[in-house]
Symmetry: C3
Subunit: 432 residues, 3 copies
C-alpha cells in the first residue's frame, strides 16, 4: 500500500485526487472473477459507500452459463536450478495466468515454455492473460525476461485453489422518490491494471458517495461485478426487476489521458444516449460518440436482445486501441487525477440531467397563460424564452431533453423554468 493510500480522508483533495488515491489503494490486490481479491477490494469500497456484498454459490446456473469455482492464490513462482526466483507473483500479480490451476512440478525449460506468455512486440511489458473457461496454468512475463532464461530444469509453483465457493460482487442501492432506476456498472475482476477496471471502480465509488448524500428523484443501483459472468449472474437473478432500469451506463477505462468515448446503447436513441450526446456536445471536452457494437464490456449483456436495456458505456480511449491495454503498463502512471476527476464531473452532469429530465403537462394549454399577472415576466428576465418553450412543448409528448434539443435553450434553464411554472400551478410533472 502506497504512502498516498494509507490515510482515508484528505479534505483538501480534489475529487480526481481522491479517485486516484482509491485506484492506488486497490492496485496491488490480485483480483479475478471470483475469490478473496474481489472481497478485499469490495471491503475497501465499503468504507466509503453503503455497499452490500453478495455471494452466489459456484455451480448456480445463470442462463446459458454456470457460476464458476472460486479461485484463490497464495503464492506462485518459477525457480531456476540455482534456486533463484526468475518469475515471482509477489513482484506482480500479472505474472500468473489469471485463474490458473495449481501446479507444483519441476520441468525443463522447453516444457515450461508451453506455459509462458509474452508480448514479443512490447518486450518490456508483462501481458495480462486469463484462462477462465479452459483449465490451464501459466505464467506471464516480459519477452526480455523470457529470452534471459537459460536451459535447465525449473521448479514451478502455483499455490492456488480452484474449488466450489462463491462469485462475489458489490451492490449499492440508493432509493429515490421513484422506483425508476439508473444503473451504473463496472467490472472489478482485473488484478493490477489501473485504467481497465480500477478507474471505473473508483469513479463510481465517489459518485455513489456523492449521490448517497443528496436528495434523488430516481433510485440508483451501482454494480461492482466481475466482467461477463458477473453481469450475467446479476441479470439472471434479477431478470424480473430489470424493467425498472430506465437509464444505465457501463463505466470503464475512464482514467487515461485520451478524450471521452461514449458508446451508444443498442437502442441507439435511448434517453441516456441523447443525454450524453447533448452534454458532451456542449462540454468543450474532446469526445467521440460511437455506435453500439455487440463487442465490449458488460453492455454486451445489458444490451443482449432479450433485455435490450438503455445502457451505454462511457470510457476514454477505447479498450484494445492503446498499447498499454492488458499489460503491466496500465499502471499508476497511466491514469491521472485530472482524467478521473473530469470523468466524475461528466458522469455527475449526465446523472443530473437524467434525474431532472421528464415530461410535463401545460395545465393551461389553450393560448399562452398571462405570465404578467403572476409576476413571471419581470421576475425572470432572460428566462422568458425558456418558460415559453416549456409551456409550448409540454403537451405530454416532449421531455425537457426533447425541448432542449429542439429549442437550443440550455437544459438547466428549461429545468428551472419548469420548476418555476410548477410552483405557479401552470405546469405539472407527468412522470415519477
Amino acid at each position: 500500500m502506497s504512502e498516498r493510500a494509507r490515510h482515508h480522508t484528505f479534505p483538501e483533495e480534489t475529487i480526481g485526487e481522491q479517485a486516484y488515491r482509491l485506484v492506488a489503494e486497490l492496485y496491488p490486490l490480485c483480483r479475478s472473477i471470483t475469490g478473496d481479491g474481489v472481497r478485499q477490494s469490495l471491503d475497501i469500497l465499503a468504507r466509503r459507500i453503503p455497499l452490500a456484498v453478495r455471494e452466489v454459490p459456484s455451480g448456480t446456473p445463470v442462463f446459458d452459463w454456470t457460476v464458476p469455482q472460486e479461485w484463490n492464490i497464495r503464492d506462485a513462482y518459477v525457480r531456476n536450478s540455482r534456486g533463484e526466483k526468475v518469475i515471482d507473483f509477489r513482484q506482480s500479480n500479472l505474472h500468473v495466468l489469471n485463474y490458473s490451476t495449481p501446479v507444483r512440478a519441476t520441468m525443463p525449460l522447453a516444457e515450461l515454455k508451453k506455459h509462458l506468455f509474452t508480448l514479443p512486440g512490447q518486450p518490456d511489458l508483462i501481458p495480462y492473460k486469463t484462462s477462465y473457461y479452459r483449465r490451464n496454468w501459466g505464467f506471464c512475463l516480459s519477452h526480455r525476461q523470457l529470452q534471459s532464461l537459460e536451459d535447465g530444469d525449473y521448479e514451478v509453483v502455483i499455490d492456488a485453489t480452484l474449488a466450489d465457493g462463491y462469485l462475489t460482487y458489490g451492490e449499492v442501492y440508493l432509493p429515490g422518490e421513484t422506483e425508476d432506476e439508473i444503473l451504473l456498472s463496472c467490472h472489478i475482476c482485473h488484478p493490477s491494471l489501473c485504467n481497465d477496471n480500477l478507474s471505473g471502480v473508483s469513479v463510481l465509488t465517489l459518485l455513489a458517495e456523492q449521490l448517497a448524500a443528496a436528495p434523488r428523484r430516481h433510485s440508483y443501483r451501482f454494480l461492482f461485478i466481475p466482467g461477463t459472468i458477473g453481469a450475467i449472474t446479476w441479470l439472471a437473478q434479477h431478470a424480473a426487476a430489470v424493467s425498472r432500469i430506465h437509464h444505465g451506463l457501463v463505466v470503464s477505462g475512464i482514467g487515461d489521458r485520451g478524450g471521452l468515448t461514449y458508446k451508444k446503447s443498442r437502442q441507439g436513441n435511448a434517453t441516456v444516449d441523447r443525454a450524453v450526446a447533448y452534454l458532451l456536445g456542449r462540454s468543450g471536452l474532446r469526445h467521440e460518440i460511437v455506435d453500439f457494437t455487440p463487442y465490449g464490456y458488460d453492455e454486451r449483456q445489458y444490451c443482449s436482445p432479450g433485455f435490450n436495456l438503455p445502457v451505454g458505456r462511457l470510457s476514454r480511449t477505447p479498450f484494445g486501441s492503446y498499447p498499454e491495454y492488458h499489460t503491466s503498463a496500465d499502471n499508476l502512471d497511466f491514469v491521472t487525477p485530472v482524467a478521473l476527476g473530469e470523468a466524475w464531473a461528466t458522469l455527475r452532469d449526465i446523472l443530473q440531467l437524467l434525474d431532472g429530465d421528464g415530461k410535463f403537462i401545460n395545465l393551461n394549454p389553450y393560448c399562452e397563460p398571462q405570465l404578467g399577472k403572476r409576476g413571471l415576466y419581470d421576475s425572470i428576465g432572460d428566462n422568458e424564452l425558456a418558460m415559453l418553450w416549456v409551456l409550448n412543448l409540454s403537451d405530454g409528448e416532449h421531455s425537457l431533453l426533447d425541448i432542449a434539443e429542439r429549442s437550443g435553450v440550455e437544459f438547466g434553464a428549461l429545468r428551472e423554468a419548469a420548476e418555476l411554472l410548477c410552483r405557479h400551478a401552470l405546469l405539472k410533472r407527468l412522470d415519477g
Copy 2:
C-alpha cells in the same frame, strides 16, 4: 389623410400600389388594442371587403385572460412654462405611451422624466411603447427632444379614457365548396407604424377582396385583430370551430425591402409549411425558412399546445431585427409598393396551391390505364409524365403536393393532369 389616399379607385394601379395607398390611409389613425382607432381602421377596410365588425365586452373571461377596458384618446401634450407644446400627440400618435391612463397635472422636469421614454441609441426616433397590463401614463419622444427640455414646470395632459367598453375586431368569412378553412390573420393594434401592422392589414385586405370575387374550394377566414388579446379572444370564443382550420398564416411585417421569411408552424411539417417551402424554393425570390419558436406574433396563440394549429407566419425582415422596428422610422418610407405587391402575389400563389391540393384516388389502379384509347397521349404532349405520376401515386396516401415534392414535376402541371384525369373518370378527388 395624404393626397394619395384621398380617392378610392385607381384602376390603373398595381396591386402593390393599391396596398401602399391603403397603408397610407390607415397610417395617421391612433390604434390600440381597443377603442375607436381600431373601429375607424376597420371602417376603411370595410369599403373593400365584406368585413363583419365584432365587439366583445370588457371583462369577458377568455382562457387565462380578461378582455381589457376600452381606451380612447382625444388629445395629449406637454407644455412648458412658456405655454409652448414641447410634446404634441397631434404631431405623432407615437408620442403617447399607448394605453396611457389619463393625466392632467403640472410637475417639474425631474418628475416628468419618470414618464418619458426615448431611444438614446437612435436619438432622432420616437419609440413606440405600450403599457397594456400595468396602469401607467407616459410620453415617448426622440432623445434629442428630451435633451432640449429645460428645467422648469410642465403642464401634462393626456385626455384619454380607460373604461369598460369593447374589444373590437374585424372578420371576413368567405364560404367555399367545403367548410375546411384557411385562416389568414393579422394584428391591427399598432398606431402609426407601417410595416409592423399596416403592411399585413393592407395585403390581407386586397387578398380577401380578390378571393371574394372568385370561386373557392376552401372557405377562408380573415381576422383583423388586436395582437395577443385579440387572438386569445377569438380562439376562446371559437374553440369548438378551430378544427375546421386546415391551414393558416399570420401575416405581418411584409412591406419592407428585405427578403421573405417564413416561420414554420409548431407542427413543423404541416401542409402549409411544405407548400410555402415548395413555392418559395421555386420562386426565385430571396427568402428564408425558419423553425417555429414560441415567441413572435399571434402564431404563439394559434400554435399553443392545446390548439397546435397548422399556422405559420409570413414576414419579410423578422421583427426586432431591423432598427426601424417599433419606432417612428417604421413610416411610409419604410414600406414599398413593390414589396407589398410581391407579398400579395406570394400569398395568392400559396393559397392557390393549398386550395388545389388534395388527395385523389386512381380508379384504375391495377396496371396503367390505356391513355391512348382516350386520346390522352396525344392531347397533352409534355404532360404525359404529370399524368403518369398522378396515376401512380394517387393511392389515397399522397396529395398533389406530395407528388410534386417527390416527382419534381411542377404542382401546376400535376393539378392540370389531375383535372384532366378526373374528367376522364380515371381519377377521383378524395377530400372535400
Copy 3:
C-alpha cells in the same frame, strides 16, 4: 444465323460469351408484341431452360386493355419504277413499321412519304418504330436512303396479317423450399435490337439455367413477355398470386458498355432496393442508383398503385439516353460479352443475397450464450464478430441484410455465422 450461333455448347465459353451468342442467335428474328417472331424466339430459349409457352387469345380483356390481334409478316418491300427494291424487309426487319397493317399498292413518292420514317439527325440509321394501338402502315429507313429516292411511282408491299390469334409469352417457374417468389422479367417484343430487349432476354435465360440446376430457398419466376401488354396480361391473369412475389427485378438494356443503373421500386426501400444498393456499393463497379419514376419498362405495371410490388429495374445506360437507342445501331457491336457477363454475375449475387436473407431468432436472447463451451470461439476466429452481431440483432425484427447494413460486417460472413449458430441450436430461421 451467324457462325457463332450455329452450335449449342461451347464448354470453354464464359457466361458472357454464351449470353452474347444467344443474343446473336435471336437477333435476326422479327419479333413484335404478338406473332411467330416471339414464338421462334421462345423456342430458342426453350433449348436451355424449362420454358412454358403461354398463349392468350386476342380479345381477352386484361384490366383496362384488350389482348391485341396477332401480327405475322412474311415479306415487305418498296420497289421503284425500275423494279428495284429500294427498301427491303429481308435486309433489316426494322424497315417495317412494327405491327403494320398489310398493304399492296402503287403510289407516287409524295404519297409514299407520308408512311416513311427517318432520323434526320442520325442520317445513317434506321429508326425502330411501332404502331400498336393505332392502325397504320409504314417503312423506316435511313435519312440518306430517303434522300436518294427519286420521284416516280413506287410499288409498296407489306405481306402481313393482323388477325385474331394469341399473345404469346414464356414463363419459367422454379419451385423452391418456400412459395415466396422472386420475379425476373424482361420484354421480348423488339425485333433486331440487341441491347434493348435481347440483352435482358439472354442474361435472364442463363440465370434461369443456372438457378434450375441448384437448390433454391425461394421459388423463382422468369417472365419473357411483350412489353406493357405482356406484363398487363400476366398481372391480369395472376392478380391473386402476386402476393407471393417478395422481390422482383425487370432486366433490360444490360449489355452496353455503360455502368449499371438500378432504378428503385416504387416502395423505394424494399428489400430488393436495399440489397442491390448494398451489393453495388461494395462491388467496385461503376453504377448509379436512381429513384422510381412511373415511366420506363414493365416496372410501370408491377409498380402500379394497385400492385405496388417490390420490383426494381437493373439496366446499364438508361434507355433513351444513348444515341443507338431504338435504331439499327443497337446491333451486335453495341453489346459485349464482358458487359453481359458482368450483368449476369451481378444478378447472381443479388439473387444469392435475397435468397439467403431472412430474419432469425436468437434462441438464447438473455445475455450472450457461452460460445466457448460449444467450441465456437476457436472454430471461427475472425468470424466471432459476425456471430455476436447475428446473436445480438436476431430479435425477430432484423434481417441479415439489416444486420449487414448496421454492422458493416459482410453479408456473406453474417450468413455463414447464422448457419453455424443454427447448427448449434442457438438460432432459428423465422421465415420460410
